[in-house]
């Protein structure tokens, strides 16, 4: 018995070794690096306060003036605050609406296309979508008599343009998950509810939405993680500009590491991202249980 257990354990050693080498060790090393200043001194307080005091992370002047840029940290929260509910709600709405539509498979596939294109391509597409003269968004705005301009070129709209573009790219994910979840709800529940006189809205809020709670947790956690590690879309679309107005934490982390070669500051941002992820994910998972 012990021999059998030992033999079985041997099979997981390679996987454990890889996880340790490529996940655990780099994470611990990053945390350790974040405790040292670029000058080589062990001073966690100084290193973290220096990063949090930089205008690229939190721009006090932006808050005083009430205009972008506010800094990568506030921008990241704005991104999550807008992108997460929009994507989750849209995905759920589309899944419910397309439940009994003929040809819904094709429609879902088209919506899901945004998920399968590389984010760099997505960023370039977004840049052209919001272009002042060539962009499809401005064609629509112009037809409705609204102001047209290159939305990614202006500080007060660059981040929002990227967020709405990201909604287009990520909605397919929540749509597919919710569609799968809806298929698992027994039809008997709906029949019983209708017999009891429930209308569509009551059925949705009393039956559908509660039973989709585990799916919602997955969608929310995965979307937050995706939002927090967003880099390539910003890189391709705006490079964090203009004037840092669309800068977000992951992009700033890249700037520290690969433009300034300041790995200590980059490590601080990485730790911040980790902390935010943990604070969001753990309560959600607990509530789902």
């Amino acid at each position: 018995m012990r021999g059998q257990t030992l033999r079985r354990s041997l099979f997981i050693i390679p996987a454990v070794a890889l996880i340790f080498a490529f996940a655990v060790y780099p994470a611990l090393d990053t945390l350790w690096m974040s405790l040292w200043t670029p000058a080589g001194e062990f001073d966690p307080v100084a290193n973290y306060s220096e990063v949090l005091g930089e205008r690229h992370i939190i721009n006090r002047r932006g808050f005083e003036a009430g205009r972008f840029p506010f800094g990568a940290l506030p921008h990241t929260f704005i991104w999550i605050g807008i992108h997460l509910p929009l994507t989750t709600f849209l995905g759920l709405l589309l899944a419910v609406l397309l439940q009994r539509v003929r040809g819904s498979g094709i429609i879902k596939s088209i919506i899901f296309l945004g998920m399968v294109i590389p984010m760099v391509v997505g960023g370039l597409v977004i840049r052209f979508m919001f272009d002042g003269d060539l962009g499809v968004v401005n064609q629509l705005f112009g037809a409705l008599g609204m102001q047209t301009r290159t939305w990614t070129a202006h500080p007060n709209s660059a981040l929002l343009a990227l967020i709405f573009g990201a909604v287009w790219l990520w909605t397919g994910f929540s749509l597919v998950l919710y569609s799968s979840g809806l298929a698992t709800i027994p039809k008997d529940f709906y029949e019983a509810a209708r017999i009891d006189g429930a209308n569509a809205v009551q059925i949705f809020f009393k039956i559908t939405f509660p039973l989709l709670k585990p799916i919602t947790v997955v969608v929310v956690v995965m979307t937050v993680i995706w939002d927090l590690k967003m880099f390539d879309l910003v890189y391709a679309a705006t490079m964090g500009g203009p004037g840092g107005s669309s800068n977000i934490l992951a992009f700033q982390m890249w700037r520290y590491a690969f433009q300034q070669f300041n790995f200590n500051h980059a490590a601080v941002v990485a730790v911040l991202l980790f902390v935010i992820t943990v604070f969001v994910a753990i309560p959600l998972v607990r509530r789902a249980r």
């Binding site: 002047r61 070129a153 202006h154 490079m239 500009g241 203009p242 433009q259 300034q260 070669f261």
Partner: protein, 403 residues
């Protein structure tokens, strides 16, 4: 048995001979930044190099903004993406030289054969670690002769005539804006801004900022260009919104914009270079050039051959390149204007009396470059935030120059 030994011996000799002949066919990789039309102008140079040196050359496209990320990490691993690499960031090249990642080419390069200052930018502790390939002057505002003739316009010869021209362009129906503003990572905006600095503050102020020797008086002159000239021009609507620069080129060619500040390389990207003219802002006493530098990867498995290719490219390669258009030589024999196509010849003659200056953000590099690029994108759409822009640019300049 003897048959088997004989067969084994024959096979071994054949493999050895084959291996030897494969080793003699050296293949080198050149990393360069050009795509599309610009690449089409460079490929004949590589083909000529293959013929001259009897080697095979592969190519990979890597722009300087890619190399800034790739090189330091690959150098740390004792490798590099190609045998011979083009780069515009001299600060990064010097850093690589100090780290032992770039081959010393002092015996191959004589600074006196090249435009003044270009080889000096690649020198560390008296040793030379690269050489300039061709340069691409950014001589001024390009216009189409046919467009100007159609609308009765003439290139300005005085500063007042320049502003009058901009006003005339504003009145033309159907024109989106007098001046096309190119965009990408930000260099088209810094190029036109540097031209404004040269024209209104002088070549010496530009040089002082570029060489990190600017005094407070120089900065006052530098900032005055923004507050007194550039911002009023932006607020007057003379400049378009920043547009992806090749799209802006197409639209300028199609008549959406009157003039476009760019580098000489666009002559290789338009349908009819003979229809293209260029003028500087009257009073400009200098001209910036973006120089493409070349260096040899110290970790190249064919270091000797790579150095041969390097030497060929920075000498005969330049002579070959300038004949295809879009480039001006830095190597003395390649500066003979008789080698240039007519459009390049006209520009080379026009900029000959001007002080040659190095591109400011390319030369300083680092945080200054990315900040200068990004802040100008902000200034272009929000000129009222000029104070904030200037403060951020100055801060980045001090940070980079004090490093």
């Amino acid at each position: 048995m003897f048959k088997r030994i004989g067969l084994l011996l024959a096979v071994t000799l054949a493999v050895g001979a084959f291996g030897t002949s494969v080793a003699a066919d050296v293949t080198l990789t050149v990393a360069h930044p050009w795509t599309g039309d610009e690449r089409d102008l460079f490929i004949p140079v590589l083909e000529a190099a293959e013929e001259a040196l009897g080697i095979t050359i592969g190519e990979t496209v890597l722009r300087t903004e890619d190399l800034v990320t790739i090189l330091p990490t690959q150098w740390a691993a004792g490798t590099a993406p190609a045998d011979v690499i083009f780069i515009t960031d001299t600060a990064l090249l010097r850093e690589g030289a100090r780290g032992g990642h770039v081959a010393n080419v002092s015996p191959l390069v004589d600074a006196e054969d090249y435009v003044a200052g270009t080889v000096e930018a690649l020198t560390v502790d008296g040793e030379v670690y690269g050489a300039p390939f061709t340069q691409k002057p950014k001589p001024g505002f390009f216009y189409r002769h046919s467009f100007f003739e159609e609308h009765g316009l003439t290139p300005p010869e005085a500063l007042e005539e320049f502003e009058a021209l901009l006003d005339e362009l504003m009145e033309i129906e159907g024109l989106t804006a007098p001046i096309a503003s190119g965009d990408e990572v930000g260099w088209p905006l810094t190029d036109v801004t540097e031209h404004y600095i040269i024209a209104h503050a002088g070549a010496e102020v530009h040089r002082a900022v570029t060489e990190c020797t600017a005094t407070d008086e120089d900065w006052e002159a530098f900032e005055g260009v923004f507050t007194d000239v550039l911002v009023p021009h932006l607020e007057a609507g003379y400049f378009s919104e920043p547009i992806e620069w090749t799209t802006a080129l197409e639209r300028w060619w199609g008549g959406d914009f009157g003039i476009y500040f760019q580098g000489i390389f666009i002559l290789g990207m338009v349908d009819d270079p003979d229809d293209v003219g260029v003028f500087t802002i009257p009073g400009a006493d200098g001209v910036i050039s973006s120089v493409d530098y070349l260096f040899v990867n110290q970790y190249s498995p064919n270091l000797d051959v790579a150095q041969e290719l390097f030497q060929w490219l920075v000498t005969e390669g330049q002579v070959e390149q300038v004949q295809h258009g879009g480039h001006i030589g830095t190597y003395e024999p390649a500066t003979d204007v008789e080698l240039y196509p007519p459009a390049e010849r006209e520009i080379a003659d026009a900029i000959a009396p001007l002080t040659p200056l190095l591109d400011m953000d390319d030369t300083i590099g680092g945080v200054f470059q990315s900040t200068f690029w990004d802040e100008l994108k902000l200034l272009w759409v929000a000129p009222d935030r000029v104070d904030e822009v200037l403060e951020n640019v100055r801060e980045a300049w001090e940070q980079e120059c004090n490093n």
